[in-house]
């Protein structure tokens, strides 16, 4: 089988552009990246399908028909990409509603762990956290002997 050069190159270029956009923080760019990358992969499926041929209908000469299986797979993939795009659009809109932009923020707990590491503190799980208002109270220093 000789693959079609143009399809292969176009598929590669689309995928590369898609991956570049997927690395962005904005959800809209990620959406664009996803669509480009998945279309690139769909083109590669056409490469995998081999040369063009007659419509694959039962009764046609099996030697002359196009391979229907990759096309069925591409169809499934297109539907899945459609659903994923709708989901990403909704996420992007929701993010815009909540924060006024659709950039993905850093993880909060990650940031805490990182700040503690930079300040050379040990992890939260190991520090003896005394309750802020270490009180003097009537129950007589239960804070001390509980451990």
């Amino acid at each position: 089988m000789t693959p079609t050069l143009i399809l292969a190159v176009a598929g590669g270029a689309l995928t590369a552009a898609g991956v570049y956009l997927l690395l962005e923080r904005s959800l809209m760019r990620i959406l664009a990246g996803l669509m480009l990358a998945s279309n690139g992969v769909n083109l590669l499926f056409l490469v995998a399908a081999g040369p063009a041929g007659l419509a694959p209908i039962v009764g046609q000469d099996p030697e002359q028909i196009a391979d229907p299986l990759p096309q069925a797979m591409v169809l499934t993939a297109i539907v899945i990409t459609l659903a994923a795009s709708a989901l990403l659009l909704a996420m992007s809109y929701r993010s815009f509603q909540l924060e006024g932009h659709d950039e993905v923020a850093d993880d909060v707990e990650d940031a805490i762990v990182r700040r503690r590491a930079e300040a050379d503190l040990s992890s939260e799980a190991y520090v003896e956290l005394t309750p802020e208002a270490q009180p003097d109270t009537e129950s007589g220093g239960r804070a001390g002997d509980a451990r």
Binding site: L34, V104, A125
Partner: protein, 502 residues
């Protein structure tokens, strides 16, 4: 072959029930009954499949019986039917937990009614991925479970959940695109995607191309299974979801990735085990995962890191490429699905009783003895304390690794033992802080299980008891895992599929 007609039921029944629960959107109590009974039924069917596959070898169904193997094939061999069984037990118990408050506690007007339909589609997807007989249907199963997981992880769409969901969705979409790319390459190179035909045709390819395909699929499944260095999405995205959702994700979704790696390594590339590479990755996953866990101050994140770390054990078993290693990995998968789910569910209870999952804010929970027992038992089990199944699974894996006389295998044993000890340190730290730490005097809340619906306490106790009963069932289960791994490596799969071709 009547049993063959049972094979698609674990996929069809939850899908049907998903439709029914969607029409019952305004009646949450009925929804819960429908999904509970459906998943219970699936568990019974899966048990029948399990016993059937054990007695007569892989059960194969060509859906629609199209001539010459044109249709979709579903295969329930020992491994996949066992995993369907375990996953349906877990989901049937967990589906009891979500209540309006649990799911919507941080978002007003969250669409709780979509929980049950989505959850059922998720279980259908998991079953489909386990039963799929070709690469493309494995992809479809993955997509089914991923799309429902996108909805579940962002349930209520609060700020935190959308942020966590963004990471999860982006990484998953990337891995799906890579998976499609791999399928296109496989099809272009071999002209088939069927698991039964691929081994022969892949073996005839150029070795370089074989390696490309194997590594590409390994990356795809590695992202799903969260193995190092593809694991960093997991601890960032799982902890923000509702407790019951996190429990199922942690228990099941990563194991689907491990299952796919087993299929890849044993069925598609039996002669290219990549032992060194996988062992090195397994060691790094074990050690870095658990070191991450030790740095966390939040219980759900801590458990997410132990989850990543323990994926390393399963990978270790697969990497060895021996029957003993594979059997150990299968046993460990079963153990880990149950224990990790139980732990996350109990953390959900801790969150409700103590009002937080942050170690700095929790304390004094030991005044609720039942909750303490519910936490301590699966926690010790995870850490690998002797009578429990975690110990047995780890011993089986270490044993298998010691039979392989390479320095890397010995290093893996060392890493495994160290990880086991460090896991114990991490979970005992939670025990000490959340249950025995003094809360200070200004806090006069009285902890009590009364804030929980009674059915939750029953269900989580049942789940913990199942994890304990694995100790008693370990003998038969190990034998079963042994037979399953002999099965997998003996080519029974291909034979059964070819025999059943209409």
């Amino acid at each position: 072959m009547d049993l063959a007609n049972l094979v698609p039921i674990p996929v069809l029944l939850p899908l049907l029930a998903a439709g029914i629960t969607l029409t019952l959107a305004r009646r949450p109590a009925l929804q819960r009954i429908v999904s509970g009974t459906t998943l219970g039924l699936v568990a019974v069917l899966a048990l029948i499949l399990c016993l059937g596959a054990d007695a007569q070898g892989p059960i194969v169904l060509w859906v629609g019986a199209w001539p010459e193997g044109l249709g979709i094939v579903l295969v329930a061999d020992r491994l996949s039917s066992l995993l369907v069984l375990v996953s349906s037990i877990v989901t049937a118990i967990v589906v009891i937990f979500p209540s309006r408050r649990d799911i919507a506690d941080s978002a007003d007007g969250a669409p709780v009614s979509v929980f049950h339909p989505t959850f059922l589609v998720l279980t259908a997807g998991v079953s489909h991925a386990f039963l799929a007989g070709d690469l493309f249907n494995l992809f479809v199963g993955f997509e089914m479970l991923l799309f429902s997981s996108y909805v579940l992880i962002m349930l209520g769409a609060t700020k935190e959940r959308v942020r966590a969901g963004s990471t999860y969705v982006t990484v998953s979409l990337l891995s799906s695109t890579l998976f499609l790319l791999a399928i296109a390459i496989v099809y272009a190179a071999t002209g088939t995607v069927s698991f039964a035909q691929l081994p022969e045709r892949l073996a005839a390819l150029d070795p370089g191309l074989q390696l490309v395909i194997q590594l590409l699929l390994l990356v795809v499944f590695g992202i799903k299974a969260a193995i190092f260095p593809l694991q960093s999405w997991l601890p960032d995205s799982y902890p923000t979801a509702p407790a019951s959702v996190t429990a199922v994700f942690a228990g099941l979704l990563t194991k689907v990735g491990v299952f796919a790696i087993i299929r890849l390594q044993t069925l598609l590339f039996p002669h290219s085990p990549l032992t060194e590479l996988l062992l090195a990755v397994a060691i790094l996953t074990l050690v870095l995962g658990i070191l991450g866990a030790l740095a966390q101050g939040e219980i759900k994140r801590l458990l997410s890191f132990t989850l990543v770390s323990h994926i390393g054990y399963m990978l270790l078993g697969v990497a060895l490429g021996t029957e003993a290693g594979l059997a150990g990995a299968i046993f460990y998968i079963v153990h880990h699905i149950l224990v990790q789910t139980a732990l996350f569910i109990v953390v959900g209870l801790i969150e409700r009783v103590g009002g937080s999952t942050s170690l700095a804010r929790l304390g004094g929970l030991a005044s609720v003895p039942l909750l303490a027992a519910l936490y301590l038992i699966p926690a010790l089990n995870l850490g690998g304390i002797p009578p429990f199944s975690g110990f047995l699974g780890k011993v089986a894996l270490m044993d298998a690794a010691l039979e392989v006389p390479t320095p890397l295998a010995v290093a893996a044993v060392v890493a495994g033992v160290a990880t086991s000890l460090l896991t114990l340190l991490a979970v005992v730290r939670v025990w000490q802080r959340a249950f025995w730490q003094d809360r200070g005097e200004d806090d006069d809340r009285v902890h009590s299980l009364r804030v929980l619906p009674r059915v939750w306490v029953f269900a989580s106790t049942a789940l913990v008891l199942i994890t304990v009963s694995l100790t008693a069932l370990a003998g038969p289960l190990t034998d079963y895992a042994q037979r399953a791994s002999v099965d997998i490596r003996g080519g029974a799969y291909q034979l059964a599929v070819e025999e059943a071709t209409p």
